[in-house]
C-alpha cells in the first residue's frame, strides 16, 4: 500500500531498525507521511515513539533500513543535514527555548542566522507567528518569565518561523500543568486545520480524534497498528491496542 504512491510521501521510513547497545529500540519501522497529512503517534512509555520521530530529523541515528525526507536520504555521511533540519521543525517536551534570548530573539534567531533573513523581515514574520499563537504581548520577555504553556506556544512559533514543511511534536503537553494543556492543543489544532504536515507524539486522544488523519500505535519498538481515528478508536484490531486504549481512555 505504501509503495502505491512513493512520490507523494514527504517522509518515507523503510525497514528502519535502531539499537541502543544491545537493546533493540526500533524494529523494522515502515511509515510514509504525505504532504499535508496529520499523524498522531501513541503508545505506552518506552515504546519508541519519541525515538522514532527524533530519527526523522536525525537527532538520533538509525542503524539499518532507510529514512528519506523530501527525497533526501538520511545517513551518517550526509552533507545536507542542515537543509533537512530546516525543513523539519521540532517542538520538544521541555520546550528547549534559548533562555538567554528574548522571545522575539528566539524567533528571529533561526531565520537571521541560518537563512540570512534581514532583521526587519525576520521580526515582522516573528510577530505574525506570535500573534498566531496568541502571545504577541510577551515578545520582549525572556522565556524564564513565561508560564509553561506560554513557553510551549513560543516554541511552536519558533519552529514556524523557519517555515518548515513538516512539524514534529515530541509530547508537547506532557510537561505542562493540566490547566495549560488546552491552550497548546488549541494552537496545534489551529495549525492542523491550516494544512500543516504534522507528526505528533502525544497521549491526548481527544486531539487525535479531532484532527488526525491517521493514528499510529507503537509498542515495544514496533508499529503495531495504524489507521484512521474512527477505525482506530472504534474498532482496534490488536489486543495490545485495546489494552492501551482502555487505560488511557478511562480517565
Amino acid at each position: 500500500m505504501d509503495n502505491a504512491q512513493p512520490k507523494a510521501g514527504i517522509i518515507q521510513i523503510r525497514g528502519m531498525n535502531k539499537w541502543y547497545g544491545s537493546f533493540h529500540a526500533l524494529k523494522d519501522i515502515n511509515l510514509t507521511v504525505r504532504l499535508g497529512e496529520r499523524i498522531v503517534v501513541c503508545g505506552p512509555s518506552g515504546s519508541g515513539k519519541s525515538t522514532m520521530i527524533r530519527c526523522i530529523n536525525r537527532l538520533e541515528a538509525h542503524q539499518s533500513g532507510s529514512i528519506s525526507v523530501d527525497g533526501i536520504e538520511l545517513h551518517e555521511d550526509m552533507r545536507q543535514i542542515d537543509v533537512v533540519r530546516q525543513e523539519v521543525g521540532m517542538v520538544f517536551q521541555h520546550f528547549n527555548l534559548f533562555p538567554h534570548l528574548t522571545v522575539l530573539e528566539n524567533l528571529t534567531a533561526g531565520p537571521m542566522w541560518v537563512k540570512n533573513t534581514p532583521r526587519t523581515e525576520a521580526e515582522a514574520n516573528a510577530r505574525t507567528y506570535l500573534k498566531r499563537v496568541n502571545i504577541l504581548e510577551q515578545a520582549d520577555k525572556y522565556p524564564g518569565q513565561l508560564s509553561g504553556g506560554q513557553q510551549q506556544r513560543v516554541a511552536i512559533a519558533r519552529s514556524l518561523c523557519m517555515e518548515p514543511k513538516v512539524l514534529l511534536f515530541d509530547e508537547p503537553t506532557s510537561a505542562l500543568d493540566p490547566e495549560m494543556v488546552s491552550e497548546v492543543l488549541d494552537v496545534m489544532t489551529g495549525l492542523a486545520r491550516g494544512g500543516m504536515t504534522m507528526i505528533c507524539v502525544t497521549h491526548e486522544m481527544g486531539f487525535a480524534k479531532a484532527v488526525a488523519d491517521r493514528v499510529v500505535f507503537m509498542d515495544a519498538g514496533q508499529i503495531v497498528e495504524e489507521g484512521a481515528p474512527v477505525e482506530f478508536f472504534g474498532n482496534p484490531r490488536s489486543r495490545r491496542t485495546r489494552d492501551f486504549l482502555s487505560q488511557v481512555l478511562q480517565h
Binding site: V83, R85, N96, G110, W113
Partner: protein, 321 residues
Amino acid sequence: MLFADTVRNRGLHEKPRIILALFVLSSLLAWWAGGGAAGYAALFPVREAALGLLGDLGLACLLGAAFTANLVLISRFRFRLQVLIVWAELLTLFLLFFLAFDLSFPFILKKLPYLITQGAVTTVYVSAISIAIASVIAIIGAVAKLSSNGFAFAVASFYTSLFRGLPLLVQIYLLYLGLPQLGIYIDAIPAGIIALSLCYGAYMTEVFRAGILSIPAGQWEASRSMGFKFGLTMRRIILPQSVPVIIPPLGNQFIAMLKDSSLVSVLGIWELMFLARTLGNKEFRHLEMLITVAVIYWVLTILFELVQARIEAYFQKHRKR
C-alpha cells in the same frame, strides 16, 4: 547565603561558658604576646614603666575583656552593620601592624606615582592581554577535549597536562631561554604574556569545559533541529549561556594571574614586583616598597571583584523575574 532556616539557632556568643572561655583565652594570649612582641610595647607605652607581674596580668585581662566585649557587642548588631564593623576593625589592626614597622611614608609617597604609572599599569595590561589570550586558548582546548576526534583530544589533554604540571616560573624560563635555541626569538614581554597565557589557558580549559557541559542537551537539540551548525551553536547558544557559570572561576583565575604575573619580573619586565624589589634598594627601603605593592595588588583585586560582579549581573539579566 546558605539556605537559611526560619528558626534562629542559638549562637555561640549567647552561651556564657563560651564567652568566659573566650575571655580567658584572649587574656592569656595578650599576656604571652606582651612578653615577646615589640609592637605591644609600642602600642602601650605604659608597659615601659615596669608594672610587675600583677600589672602585666591586669593589662592582659583588660585587653582580653575589651576583645570579648567587642565580640559580644558586635554579635548584637544587624548583619550589614556587623560586616562593616568587623571589616573596619580588621583593617585597622592590619594598618597598625604595618605602622609597627616604622615605615618612611615620605619615601612611599615619592615612589608611589611611579609604582602605579609604570608598575601597576604593566601588571594590569600584561595580565589583561594574557587572560584574553588564555580564554581563547581555553575555548579551543575545551572544545578539543570534548571532541570525539582522537587527535584533537590528545593534543588538548597533552597540553593541559603539561602546562598544569610545570611550575609557571619554569615555563617562563623555558619559553625565554629554550625557544631561542630552536631559533625562535621572543622578547621579554611577549615571552611573559605567552607563558602566562599558556599556563592559565590550561587551567581555564577545565573551566570552559565544565561551563560547556553545564548546558543541557536540549539546547543542542533545539539548535540542531533548526539547522544551526556547530560553530554557530557554540558561539550564539552554548557559550553565552555558560558565561554565568564560567565568570566566577574566570575571575578567580584573573585575580590569581594579577599576582602570578609578578613571576615575569625575572625577565626584566618593569611590573609591580620588579619595581618593589629594585626601587627601595638604594635607600634600603625594601619593606616600604613591598608593603606598598602589597596594598596596590590588594586594591587591584578589590577593583576587579567589583568589575566581576557587574559582569555577572549583566549575564544574569535573563534570570530576572
